[in-house]
Symmetry: C2
Subunit: 350 residues, 2 copies
Amino acid sequence: MTVTLADVAARAQVSPATVSRVLNGNYPVAAATRERVLRAVDDLDYVLNGPASSLAAATSDLVGILVNDIADPFFGIMASAVQSEITGPGGRAGGERMAVVCNTGGSPERELTYLTLLQRQRAAAVVVTGGAIEDAPHAAAIGGKLRRLGDAGSRVVLCGRPPTGAAPDAVALTFDNRGGGRRLTDHLLGLGHRRVGYIAGPTERTTTRHRLEGHQEALAAAGVADDPLLTLHGPYDRRSGYDATLELLRREPRLTAIVAANDTVALGACAALRDRGLSIPGDVSVAGFDDLPFSIDAVPALTTVRLPLHEAGARAGRIAMGREEEPPGGIATVHGELMVRGSTGAPRQH
Amino acid sequence: MTVTLADVAARAQVSPATVSRVLNGNYPVAAATRERVLRAVDDLDYVLNGPASSLAAATSDLVGILVNDIADPFFGIMASAVQSEITGPGGRAGGERMAVVCNTGGSPERELTYLTLLQRQRAAAVVVTGGAIEDAPHAAAIGGKLRRLGDAGSRVVLCGRPPTGAAPDAVALTFDNRGGGRRLTDHLLGLGHRRVGYIAGPTERTTTRHRLEGHQEALAAAGVADDPLLTLHGPYDRRSGYDATLELLRREPRLTAIVAANDTVALGACAALRDRGLSIPGDVSVAGFDDLPFSIDAVPALTTVRLPLHEAGARAGRIAMGREEEPPGGIATVHGELMVRGSTGAPRQH
DNA sequence: CGAGGCGTAGCAAGCGCTTTCTACTGGGGA
DNA sequence: TCCCCAGTAGAAAGCGCTTGCTACGCCTCG
């Protein structure tokens, strides 16, 4: 049957306790004994029983990463960065921790389910990425869950999500979506655009609201009226950008610029414009958000706001592992950088 | 302190055994008793201890997914698909299984480490994606590990990787990389191209070799000499495509087409051509592989081979959960579909 | 020469759950 | 009326590991 610690102990002629200590390396063991034990481990092809070990030690080496959609590079990049920092010393046997990437699909129910699952596994840490749902009951439920996770000893880090009042000891690395949105629209207004369409993300999400608010702030500051007909909501996908662009064109033929909720949506917008025979930025300028890797390969290259996804994820990972100090107050704002490229230009003259 | 089964039992005035049975739902419990137990669970905010439960039951609800790079949509899409099928009935408490996505970075050492970690956790199943390393010792080590995982009760599914002799009971869903490569180059040759550059992936990987072999097969079938100077190797990234394209142009100014190892590499190639002032496909045709979502948004849209990543991942997930029959012989080949788009055309006339 | 330490190793008590086996009920058939 | 069985609940034995405490040398210092 399966080899247990006791088998190894027997073969090495030591007690199980000694084997455990050799494996965990947190207690002095004579070199000769250690050798003998390690050889026995090797001979028997022994693999530690994780659950048993977690139970006895009341800790686990699982780190949960919650993402909306792992197929979206926005989340993939963050998840990858978190994971790259998850490993390393300070841990238990092997020093390796496992990252559990959980796909919530943006649904608060699934988010809650996964948090419970992670709590069940006594996860060492949990990193929650992506914007939050702005629904009071859900927010409270998730906040409560996060607090309980924290109480149970898991370190909780929010990455790209505003802090939750309900989970005071969770560290939050928040993206400056509002500021980014503001700068993007400022840029377009500066070029002379006045009729700017906005393709927002799904309603009820903090990310969507903040980016949109930045846009509106810029309009207000420039004294440009915010025509509600020029703002459309939809999911964060290409299709939404495509459809919304056609709709915007229908509503406002004099449109000279489109700001999209993110780069993927922007690509959809570009496709729609091309299909309509409009040139970018000659007829209509387009801007995205996030600066995902493919944005630079769009033709023309996409003007967008670069979010340091990798850096933010890595930092979240380090904080989750206790390898980096928490920001003061447990909150840090991560700023985006405006990347002006070919997809935006001065509006055509009438 | 933390609430345990016993606490719930006490509050519901039943034995711990009964609580366990209510939670697992695999033993008759009178409705009234169940009610009482569930209320107690709710009142106390009880969360099952995963490690303890896994230890006692000798199973776990973890499913491992090994990927080379989670930030790459190629893997993100598959991981997402696997995960979408991982959930559901047939499982234990809650019926929810957790997908553990492990980033190996393509390194066999990390691959091995993660497999050990999964073995440690007594994973219910393991899905390994991406091509294999063609290094005998490593292949043997990984094969052996997979076999032992299988012996220990984990279901093992390879997705997009050729079967391993060392792990006979692992199911393999293999991509027809050779056939896809063949069709892609056939298409180019059919258009009249004769000087075709090939930007391959890293050496020593099955994916790289198979795609390249398909290309060479097509050349041979058409009686076109395979000039070794026109094949370059590099990583699966944009940079590699960019650099290799410049090098190809240097080596062979009469080049009229470039086949890239995958879409990302192809995008790099396009960027290099644009920077050189060459038009696509007027001066040089470009083709990719995989048909990742952004490929259609390239300008011109990329000719490529569509791999049904989502379908394959979903199928792998279902097989891993025992919800779909294994293919005969444990091996199935997944074919790609040639997507002819704007980036390829007839070569310019000299 | 004896006492106190230090360096190692073992004992044994759990960690919180699952599950087998046993026990108790009430109802129906002989 | 008695027995047996179906239905339900409990007792208790682990699952394989960690770790506090104890034990045993042997060395060094007084």
